[in-house]
Structures are given as structure tokens and as C-alpha cells.
Amino acid sequence: MRKIVMPGDLIAKNPKVAGHGTYVEGGKVYAKYLGLLDKTDTSVRVIPLKGRYIPFPGDVVIGIVREVTANGWVVDIYSPYRAFLPISEYPENAIKNRKVNEILDIGDAIIAKVLNIDPKMKVTLTMKDRVCKPVRVGRVIAINPARVPRVIGKKGSMIKLLKSELGIQIVVGQNGLIWINGDRKKVSIAEEAIYIIEEEAHTEGLTDRITEFIKNKKGEDKNGEAKADS
């Protein structure tokens, strides 16, 4: 089990190994926030247990349109900063002579990618990517953004498990918003499973427990249907 560290804890004496969640002062490496210590010979980092999403270029995020302007949309990406999606970053062939508010309106959810962040922390989004699209169907749920890596799993193992076991579409935004689409009962199972992952993110053997959980749930549903038929 990994050690829990708190801000200001000395975690290494070699400034060269300092990674995410650490800061260097006087040639020593300290933890920057509450998290789990991940220490190897070549690097030291702190995996956060909590905290807001900080945008990073290239991240896939799910956002909600909050404002429509003449040349784009102001999008809430559940971070300390509002993001801007210019109309020039919306796929041209999908515009089809429509007005800005006819393409996306206030309250619409979108899957987008972070294009750029300037030093003033002005975030620009793009939708010119295969995964990007406006969300018209399905369900969007929110989790703690620090737990996103566990929902995705090692090289996407957890997400693959959910997709193959339930046969549904899932897109995980780095900002902790997750889009699920498919059969309603299966989406509900996925939602519950994701909440379990969020709760138990820092425990061992999670993948096995989730497999078990989904099997049980699917079994329950089948029994329920059989009863309803008879």
C-alpha cells in the first residue's frame, strides 16, 4: 500500500527526481498536496486524492455551454477557469449555414479537447477531433477528477471492461465528467460501477471486484425480467 503524504512532507533529497505534486526548496523535495506517494529510483510524485481539475493541452473534457457569443461559446469545464470554444474550432462540415446558437445553445453538453492554455490561464477548446461531439443522448455523470485515472484503468483496462461487459459507449472527460450511452439498464449499472470505483479508488484488486459487481447486477436484471415474463 502506498503511503499517504501531506503538504510539506519531505519526500526526497535529490531535486532531480521531483515530479507531479512536489516542490523543491533548498535542494529538498516536498509534497505539495495531500496524496499517495509514488516513489521510484528515478522519480517521486504525489498522486492527488482530491482537488479541482486543472486543464492541460490535449485533455479530452466534457463541458456545458454557459454563454453564446458572436464567435463561439463559453464552456464550463468544472475547473477554476471557464473555457472558450471558438466557432472556427467547430468542424466546418457540421455548421451548414446555421447560426451560433443553433449549433450549440446554453445548457448543451459537449465532448471537446483542450487546445491551448495561455499564461493568463485562458483556456481554448477544439472540437476538430474524432472523439469530439455535442452530447445529444445518454447520460453525463460527475465524479472527483482526482479519481479519473482509476476509472480509465491501466492503459484503459477498466474502461474496456465496462464497455465490453455491458456493450455501451463511454467517454471519460479528464475533468471528472463521464458520458455514458446505451441501453438504460446497462447505463445504470455502469453508473453505479463508476461510483464504486470513485469511492474505492485507492484500494487493491478493484478490477476484479468491479467484474464481480457487473456480473451480479446483470444476473439480477435477467432474473427480474424472467419473473416479469412469467
Binding site: 516542490y23 505539495k32 498536496y33 496524496g35 482530491k50 486543472i54 477557469y81
Partner: protein
């Protein structure tokens, strides 16, 4: 009312020794909607703290393009003291908010979140002397719980001079009838006291007494620091089971 005897047979009114803290209880993550929260009891003091952010700052003109702004609100509930306290900010609570904010500002890594804001709210539910120090302790635990980036942990404790004796963590009677009291906050990093984040004094003490008081406060602060850490650990270890 006449001043009672505060020290009887080398013990304080509540039976504590001179260098003894009041019992402390800390609970982390008590508010679901806040990013970080903490409930703290220090003797008869009952404090609740909530931290939000980093988040967008409203109104906009308060934003700082180079760093995050920190807002700290200390508030006493009308029922927190024997005589009803008029609700709303007054001279005292505005001052406490300001000095507490200034104690936390150098600890929080504000430069990492330009244009954003971190809001800290502390509410005193029941007061029994030393509320500003108890509030700071609660606030720093809530900040850790919120995952805010910090250089270390702030821990505060008060010392007082009663009947010519320097004592740790005064309670209401000692604060009221004592000669002087001095709240001190420290920045603690890696189990070591790095600097003083806040120091105030009400009353008079000699240079020697102040020095002795600070040494005493350091000892008390280290004890509280360990309890703060333990409280945060407990939350996550519990989740693990």
C-alpha cells in the same frame, strides 16, 4: 465581578497543568458540498470550517491575473456566546478574518492558480477563548482536505499570562481575568516549525515572558499538528478498509 483565583495548588481551574492543552477532537470531510471541510473541538470551542476552490472569482474585478485570491471569513454564530452576539461582521471578526487570511497566504501556493480564488469559511458554533487559533487549525485541515497546494501546514495555539504564570491554551476565565494572552500560529513543514505565521498580543508581558510563551506555544503547536495529521489520515485509512 471580582477576579477569582485562577491558579489553585499549582493547577488551573479545570485541573490542567500549565503546559497542557484542552482536549481536541478533529473530524475531516463533514460537509459534502464543500471541496474540503473540518469540524474541530478544542475544549468548549466548536468550530466548523469549509474550503471552496480554487474556483472562479466573483465579482470579476477582484481577480488577480498573477495569482489566486484568498478570502477568509471568520464568523461567530449568535448563539456561540452566553449573551447573544449580534449577527454579521463586526470590527473584531473583520480583523480576525484579515490576520488569519494573512497567516494562510504565504503557505498556499497562490501563483499556481492565476485569476482564481480560494474561499475559506469558518463558523464558531460555541466560543470559549482562543477561537481564532482554533479556527486557523480547522481551516488548515479543511485546506488539506480540499487538496489545495500548500508549502506546509498552519497550526495555531494561544498562550496567556494568568496570576503571573505563563500557561498554554487559555480557556474563557483565564482569558477574561488573566493579565495577557497571545495567539501564535506557526508554519510547520515536515515535523519542523519553519516560521511564525501570526502573532498577536492583548495585555502586557515582559520580553522574557514572550520568549517563554513562544517556546510553550511551539510545544503545544507540535501536539496539535500531530492531531491534525492523524485526523486527515483517519479519513483515508477508513475508506481503505
Amino acid at each position: 465581578m471580582e477576579k477569582p483565583k485562577l491558579i489553585v495548588d499549582g493547577k488551573r481551574l479545570d485541573g490542567r497543568g500549565f503546559e497542557e492543552l484542552r482536549p481536541i477532537k478533529i473530524e475531516v470531510g463533514v460537509l459534502k458540498r464543500a471541496d474540503g471541510s473540518c469540524y474541530l473541538e478544542m475544549g468548549k470551542n466548536k468550530i466548523i470550517a469549509a474550503v471552496y476552490g480554487p474556483r472562479e472569482v466573483h465579482p470579476r474585478h477582484l481577480q488577480d491575473p498573477s495569482k489566486a485570491v484568498i478570502r477568509y471569513r471568520y464568523n461567530m454564530a449568535p448563539f456561540s456566546v452566553e449573551e447573544r452576539k449580534k449577527p454579521g461582521p463586526d470590527r473584531r471578526s473583520v480583523e480576525i478574518s484579515k490576520v488569519s487570511r494573512e497567516a494562510l497566504e504565504p503557505v498556499i501556493m497562490k501563483e499556481l492558480f492565476p485569476r482564481s480564488g480560494i474561499d475559506v469559511f469558518v463558523e464558531v458554533l460555541q466560543a470559549d477563548a482562543g477561537t481564532r487559533t482554533a479556527c486557523l487549525n480547522a481551516a488548515s485541515v479543511a485546506l488539506i482536505d480540499a487538496g489545495v497546494m500548500m508549502k506546509g501546514i498552519v497550526t495555531a495555539v494561544a498562550v496567556a499570562k494568568v496570576d503571573g504564570q505563563i500557561v498554554l491554551d487559555p480557556m474563557k476565565e483565564e482569558d477574561f481575568y488573566g493579565e495577557a494572552d497571545m495567539p501564535v500560529a506557526f508554519l510547520i513543514r515536515n515535523d519542523q516549525i519553519e516560521s511564525i505565521a501570526l502573532l498577536q498580543m492583548d495585555g502586557r508581558m515582559t520580553v522574557e515572558e514572550v520568549k517563554k510563551g513562544i517556546e510553550l506555544a511551539k510545544k503545544g503547536a507540535m501536539e496539535i499538528y500531530r492531531m491534525q495529521r492523524e485526523a486527515v489520515m483517519k479519513k483515508y485509512v477508513k475508506e481503505e478498509e
